[in-house]
Symmetry: D2
Subunit: 305 residues, 4 copies
């Protein structure tokens, strides 16, 4: 299926209250700031959004809020992957009903699909109930264990899954990502999923990017893209260095929780992470803030460097 | 918490119709045959039971049917682990309401708990809502990635989780299992979780076993236990060899699906596996049956060798 | 090839001077004490012996000293595995010349053999130059990455390697070890390679054991074996618990270096480990000694419990 | 230490006769063609060169031949890494004696260094005997298991290893590679080690590259570099796509052996690989040749596209 979506896509955080309950009222604020800052799409309820840590109803509510708040200004991709495929189907149907622009899914991962055929059967069971929506496979082998070679996967998947529109490619083997683009880039869209390797992805032809740091430093990444498109490789590289510096500073703080805390440092507090993810203590948060200040985060995130 | 449970515990299969929908009507038949054959407890909705592939409601229904059909003849442990801890809590409360004898849980695994404290926080969030039920931690690092050292885990967990009653230990490092027993065997119960190493577990003092093949060859394993208890190490070993031979024969057929198919070969057809697990084709099933016949499965499973 | 070897085999430490140079003069002392304490064979230059950290000439010298000092009182297996197969061949020829009783080898591991055929070609290149000596394949996938299924390996290997006499099985899947014994136990010998699971190995029929702690607590393990052979499963288990306790105490100190330090605590100081293995500081050694005292190591290692 | 070396460095193949013996007479031919084709340095006896599969004397001979044949036209880096550090020292001293321009080493890998300090102690033991030669650490965690974070490693290593001149970075996390360059790029040189991600490495500031395919398609890669330096990102990308296509075609044939066979297809037959690496059969080689023809390898490798 032709993909209507391209560009810089924020893998949104899910806002929680300090007690861990959903805080959907914050979503419009998130959406508006991010659109203001240039984000070109949303990816809702993925890894960053802690989709797997929410109930089915919570996931529906979050998807609904994002679709509503975005109001067609930019596309919204709803992530529906889950160990239980019946629930993934329910989420997929729901995404279609509420007017999401596309869906995406990781495969079940408690039991990793044993081969490509089984993987595709899993995905097909999801896409069949939402066949009108473009589907982006979410390839993140370090979390799912599903380490299939993507060019070979697409060979089979295009025959079985008519709504396949592309891949969110969250692995580091940029050459296989490039092989996908070379072989299927006319029909499908390929989004690179590692923010810290944004420029590497761009250099081999990424059609877009999905990542968590685009929630709070889209302007910086848009400036990298612009430099790249203007063939200013030196500028692109030095801006990417800044992005890498910020990201490494954040993830020293417990990984994903450090990213959510960096969102807070950028001005919007999305609350704690849910277990099994950890959350920074106040002391840790202060230390992170200090580290971010030391590298001019508040200006850099806006591309003002 | 003192554990009321010991002995040979079947990790039950969940029966599905050929179309993949739940087939709870079969559960009483399963329960009766297994109690007849000597099974001493049920472990419901775990890995074998494909808990993660069922909706929350389906899991509740299955738990309910097992509790009802068992009718207190032997204890029922309900597995409630799930990526979403809110759902795990719902399953835990439900287990308490329906009169289950105990609960068990794997930790979330899409995101693996980053350290022991986080793991224990996850488990505590579950046990706090069902504090009257003994809790058995389900340690299966090859599926969850949570590869913590169990003796060290218990040190901390006993302080935080009053209902901790033991561990279902599904890893191969028998020495660490033995260390658990030596250090905590007076207060807690330790069940070994690898059927093919049943005798190894017994030799270091396992209080019980939880496994899928006890669904269809409990008599063989009870005979091994008896031989071991009678200090007949030679008989124990040769019976265990038979068990190993049968298990390896089954798992050559796609792993867990081969075990469910072996259940069918033993006389009760629990239907297909749900995706992402695969299911044997009819041809594969016939081939498995032939292989099982060649090693006298139907007699051996009953201990008639 | 029929194996002339069985029983409790010490994977010997290589003695080094404090400056790291070879200290072969200590070998007779080692040999005598161990034979006195009941060791039934030596495995020289394996993982414990840091074979890979020695030059070819050093390995030859060490092998020679062990063969000479042992003087046929018990069999000596010389480990000849090495990344460079030409050097492994040189070590194998040399072992035959000096009158070793058998050879053993891990496969090359910088590049792991890509399939069973390649693995067997590697081993055959070694055994062909020492075809008169029984050959024991050294299966230790956690160090070599060669994680082949041993029963299937033997199927092929017996056809290509006439001198194959058995396997030193250093993995935790006791059921596959048992399958080897069941299928090939008449022709080949299977030694279990995890001291901390000695009893588990015995319970499924191990013909012998190769391990580092047999250097300093052979009497304890012989007592376990005796208890097992006398069908006293309770005594066997409680002695094995003691062994597990001691081993876990040692390996908390940097792993293998903690084992070499425990040898020192038992009365014979074999010196430091070579890099890349670390060595305990004097302070760490004192702490280890204290920990060992607290669990009655000096008596326990002699089986006096 | 300041690095005298930059640019496109071929990780040379070692030529063997069909019977597996060394064929050093071919080295001048290799050297001349590669210098003619624009290669700017040699990396001898690394993974591609099967250093670990050669005896110490063979490695010395090969190093000597490359140094002699190159005759200072371009720099020669001799790889000296090996499980036995005494042998690595011997190779390092020898490299200094024969006038090599630099040395490099992987850490021992049968036993992986347990922490950064131990890693650095290992490397220091090598560099201390050849302190006049610049040293490049060879970071290839997928083969060595030494998965240390490089920026943090450099912090410590620069204090202990005065001759540290840079890193051959053979991992896919381009962002950590970029962090090395940003933090230490003034004093040290960073070579990217994944040919199929050449452009990604370049885009973040690689000072050079070390790889096996530069043996036979240096002109193509030089053209990519030129395009990149001219800020022609589109051309760079499309040339890199061609490189990726060729590399994937080769490695479908058994991995590294497919690369050596592709060298043969380019006109110089370096003979078989040594075990444990496999070698293509003649039939497989013909099939590879056909596949390469189909993608215009003979022109593309020369940059004629």
């Amino acid at each position: 299926m032709d993909s209507p979506i391209e560009g810089l896509i924020a893998a949104t955080f899910t806002p929680f209250h300090p007690n861990g309950s959903l805080y959907p009222e914050l979503i419009p604020t998130l959406v508006d700031r991010q659109i203001d800052e240039g984000v070109e799409g949303f990816f809702v309820g993925g890894s960053t959004g802690e989709g797997v840590s929410m109930t089915v109803n919570e996931r529906k509510m979050v998807a609904e809020e994002f679709v509503k708040a975005t109001d067609k200004r930019i596309p919204v991709i709803v992530h529906v992957g889950r160990d239980c495929l019946h629930e993934a189907q329910a989420l997929a149907s729901h995404a279609a009903e509420i007017g999401a622009d596309a869906i995406s899914a990781v495969p079940p991962s408690y039991f990793t699909p044993s081969n490509e055929r089984v993987l595709i059967d899993c995905l097909k069971s999801i896409t069949d109930v939402a066949s009108s929506l473009p589907f982006y496979y979410y390839h993140i082998p370090r979390l799912t264990g599903a380490a299939f070679d993507m060019p070979s996967f697409i060979d089979l998947a295009t025959q079985k899954i008519p709504s396949l529109a592309g891949i969110k490619y969250s692995a580091f083997d940029v050459d296989r990502f490039q092989a996908c683009i070379d072989q299927y880039g006319n029909e499908l869209k390929f989004f690179y999923g590692s923010d810290e390797m944004f420029l590497a992805g761009l250099s081999v032809g990424a059609h877009g990017q999905v990542g968590s740091t685009y929630n709070y430093m889209a302007p910086l990444f848009l400036k990298i893209r612009e430099a790249y498109q203007n063939n200013d490789t030196q500028l692109a590289r030095s801006l990417q260095s800044k992005a890498v510096q910020i990201i490494h500073t954040s993830i020293k703080y417990k990984g994903i929780p450090g990213l959510k805390a960096t969102m807070r440092a950028s001005g919007i507090d999305c609350g704690p992470n849910r277990l099994p993810l950890d959350t920074l203590t106040e002391e840790e948060f202060k230390s992170l803030e200090k580290d971010l200040d030391a590298i001019d985060f508040s200006k850099a995130r806006k591309g003002e460097i």
